[in-house]
Amino acid sequence: MSYPEAMLRQIKEVEKTRKERLSEVIPLLPAAEKESLLKSFHPDYKLGTTRKILVGVNKGEVAVQEIADLLEAYSYLDPEKFKIDEVTYTCDVLIIGGGGAGAMAALSAVSEGADVILTTKLRLGDSNTVMAQGGIQAADKPNDSPVIHYLDVMGGGGYKNIPELVYHLVQSGPSIIAWLEEMGMMFDKEEDGTMITIHGGGTSRKRMHTAKDYTGMEIMRILKDEVLNKGIKVIEYVAAIELLSDEDGRCCGAVFVNLETGEKIIIQSKATILATGGAGRLHIQGFPTSNHYGATADGLVLANRIGAKLIYIDTIQYHPTGVCFPEQISGQLITEKVRGVGAQLVNREGKRFIYELETRDCVAAAIIRECQERDKGVKTPQGSVGVWLDTPLIEIKGGEGTIERELPAMFRQFKRFGIDIRKEPILTYPTQHYQNGGVLINPDGETNVPGLLAAGEVAGGVHGRNRLMGNSLLDILVFGQRAGKKSATLAKSTQFSKPTLNHLITYHKELKEAGVDENRRSPLVLPDYRRPELKTRLPWMD
């Protein structure tokens, strides 16, 4: 299998202009043009894709429809009937989620002397973290500084970021990189140890640290190894379906379902950290996603029901370059590093239409404009439309062998389908990638609900309304660490209290008053991709 004949003919157009494009310079968009591009073509601005939430602490605020659907839904548990007399496990710190933020929080809490349980509905490490290929930002080069990093983050986020959170993000960058170095991360380095760093979209300095195009996986491998080395109790294949609150409204644990047996498990804790990740598997506006199987916004639902405030849940990041062809892997990520090392975006006529390293929201909007309004996209046999990402340029610019050295994961991914990205371009279209907002936290990861913390993609405020490449890997480590530390401190001054589902009684009452259909249930736990006629009830639904 490789490109069909019709697409091979189109590739000729890309080849024709390759040489002259080598020296072509496209300037950054002026602020006003950027704004109008976003308003006209970014999916966030599409009419009818958001609505006001009817219930909860964010009542009256706007959320994307698919998230609102989950917030306006009943629990699988009936708070009047469900018995919580028998607690299955107790711990100081309960961490829900086994990706990068959860693992880092666990390590941090344990190092502060806390007794930790980490739960995940998949396996430890099955997360968006492993799929983060592009790199991790940190201002550690002499021509860079946390001050410049701060400005890049704020500008990228549309100046909507919470300043104190950004402060800690950029401030902790260098120490996080040093920690990873000490843990044995195989960063791309020069002989003398100098980090090889590159640009990402929206960076004004080359501060993207990489480990080929397996950066997130390399980080997760280390985190996972350390969690196991420290003997932290990890429970896999259990999904949190409800948080527990005590009589003072404090979060004191969670109810889980063992996905393999259907058994309910109750874990009582002194502090609880949500590290449940993002929402890609909601397929917002029908977009394909680059996210892992468990990215179903469960954390937003649980947090909201217990009264934690959410922020910026009306904005989603679409990664500009998802796979458009081959269809089998449609929506999977083509890392921004591909553009970072020199590939250009090119339309059907072989022409560039945007500077490739604008911020993600901008590049995604430009690709959508090219395919829709300007009708200059390339059609696949399955009827999808995309633009070319001209990867052979990387070999021309960086020399033969650059792709296999810098982008082994990408090279392999396409080779499996008979496409040699050293010689042929990739067809690409935006894919749902990141939940910009989430549970509102303070710099220690605390939410407005006592005893409940959040870290990583589930949390909101750090990235404003648009995250920059490489700041998510930094975010999960910085705020995972901070939340872990804080939770351990909180646990020291907290006694176990009686767990209840009182918050759920209130939430259900509100839902009823708002007239929400009683058959609507959440969290989603996992997406169901079976044929409709074969769908049966799943273990957490009863």
């Binding site: 500084s145 701060y150 400005l151 401030q171 120490s175 397996y214 080395n229 003997g231």
Partner: protein
Amino acid sequence: MKEISIYVMGKEYKVPEGQTIMKALEYAGFFYIRGAGCRGGFCGSCGTVYRTKDSYRLKVGLACQNTVEEGMYLTQIPFYPANKKTYFIKNLSATAETLITIYPEILRCISCGSCTKVCPQEIDVMDFVNAAIRGDIKRCAELSFNCILCGLCASRCPAEIVQYYVALLARRLYGAHILKNSPHLKERLKEMDEKKFESDLQRLLKMDTAQLKELYQKRDIEE
């Protein structure tokens, strides 16, 4: 849409041609609890062993990255009871002794090559195990770098070596003890300790959007 026959753990299902194994199984009515993770070729949870009709040869692939073939007999191996030792990476030295002390079973390698044959990432697993035995930690780390910890190598090893954990240890030894520490990072940490950027950061922290916007537009971009 053309349908083909695949045999999931021996039972026949008709699925659309050209789909990934994972999507085909879902089409057939399977709901994944185990065996699906990132769905993008990075997490190693969907390692699949299969053979095609009338062939004795076992093949492997990731269910999320490989497409179904007519007459494919398949099973996924979502878990393997592997032995992972615990250690403090800082206290170890990057030598053959370290690897052999922690994972002595590597010396049992009979160089059969079963591990290499079964790796969905096309890593020369046997070669990196041999590098580990020789104490060539750099080579072991570099050869194994693309490992996604799926465990298929260990499942085929007659010597019961857990190659992917050996490699994980080797890479961490290489990163922590052989690769040079970054000099500019050390310098920056010192500056952070001295709070060199603190007053500038505090100034930015207090700026309103208009002021930040102006600075942002004016910032110079490294070539």
